[in-house]
């Protein structure tokens, strides 16, 4: 049996406890706190590294990643609509969820690479920000058409001022301003405890994923197949782009993982308000109960191998 990172076992514990209806529930405030610490830690880490290595932000690379965010929902939509024969709103919702990213998965790949001593580009948190929003916009257009009545200004505000973007960019800015000399005072909470906080986060994610299992049973095979096939294909696209952009081995792994990950925070919230007729349980279940576990247990080590193979 391959050596699993201990944090993954916390996720497994959460799933088992949730499925067995064990007396285990973390209050909502704990989830909010833990995810806030993770987002800030990811941002801070990137910011400190950026301050240390003044390479700046290569705009061609960020542009390429932004385009990836706009492109990914299209095949995801086509597969759900024409192979899965889902209603248009549901297919668009799946497309938005799978085109967008999961910061939780990003945290796991960070931990995975750190354990293996593989470095990656310090600006990777910026990639998360670039990939989060475009797919959601494309998904909403796929559901509604360009002329559909969508309160765009309201929606864009919600998306760009969402928790994850504010905390990631805020953490990046603070880390960059403080630099390596300025951060020792906050190091214990944000850097040293990262894995412990991630473990708590994954325990909660396991409980939440277990809560989706009844829905999974109802929607059956298509959702399982979709939730595994799409991340695999998208990981290849992400790895290919990363390789093309000349990223490091760690960077290609991270970009492949990001492309493979599916949003379960920003996309569901945006779709719930902008496209209410889409079935929220369908996309959330696929993202949380199929794709998230697949990525953190099987996907990430596989994407690292794909990255290594591409690097030749």
């Amino acid at each position: 049996m391959p050596q699993l990172d201990p944090v993954i076992w916390f996720f497994v514990l959460g799933v088992l406890a949730g499925a067995a209806r064990a007396d285990l529930r973390l209050p909502a405030a704990i989830y909010e706190f833990v995810s806030t610490v993770l987002l800030l830690a990811i941002g801070l880490k990137g910011g400190v590294e950026l301050a240390r290595d003044p390479g700046g932000l290569p705009f061609a690379e960020l542009g390429g990643i932004l385009l990836l965010g706009f492109f990914l929902p299209l095949p995801a939509f086509a597969l759900a609509r024409f192979v899965g024969r889902l209603p248009r709103a549901d297919a668009a919702s799946l497309a938005a969820h799978y085109g967008s990213v999961s910061v939780g998965t990003f945290a796991v790949v960070m931990g995975y690479l750190a354990t293996r001593g593989i470095t990656f580009e310090s600006r990777a948190p910026v990639w998360v920000v670039m990939l989060e929003v475009p797919a959601i916009l494309v998904g909403i257009v796929l559901a509604r058409g360009l002329s559909g009545n969508v309160a765009w200004s309201h929606l864009l505000r919600e998306l760009f001022l969402g928790r994850s973007i504010v905390l990631l960019l805020g953490g990046l800015a603070i880390g960059w301003l403080a630099g390596p000399e300025g951060t020792p005072s906050i190091q214990p909470l944000f850097f040293d405890l990262f894995k412990g906080v991630l473990a708590l986060f994954l325990l909660e994610m396991g409980l939440i994923a277990a809560g989706q299992l009844p829905t999974l049973r109802r929607h059956g095979l298509f959702i399982i197949a979709y939730g595994i096939a799409v991340p695999l294909a998208f990981a290849l696209a992400g790895a290919g782009l990363g390789n093309l952009l000349g990223l490091s081995l760690g960077g290609v792994t991270v970009l492949a993982t990001l492309a493979a990950s599916a949003s379960y925070i920003a996309a569901p919230a945006a779709f719930r308000t902008a496209v209410p007729e889409a079935n929220p349980a369908l996309s959330l279940t696929a993202a949380l109960a199929v794709t998230f576990p697949f990525n953190i247990v099987i996907g990430i080590p596989l994407y690292e191998r794909i990255a290594a193979a591409l690097a030749g």
Binding site: L26, A28, Y31, E32, G211, Y264, I265, A269, P276, L284
Partner: protein, 100 residues
Amino acid sequence: MEQFPRRLLTVVTEAVLERDLVAELESLGVRGYTITDARGKGSRGRRHSDWAQEGNIRVEIVCEPSLAERVAARLRERYYDHYAMILFMQDVSVLRPDKF
């Protein structure tokens, strides 16, 4: 002690709607409301409160009966089709009518 009749409107719905709902209530002229996190079970399945994505809220509004009717009609028209939402009304008495 003099008491004045008012209507208590209670709405139980998805937490994700909170901001839109508050804007809607204020545009209709509601001056005060109380929101609490809630969990429970209904026709759309079990709703948890331990995760904001799937949580419910309970909104309570005490106001003039005519305003309660207008709010109820608007919410029914706008949200009943696609969202988990119930609402109910009760007659209540208040001591300071100018507040409600």
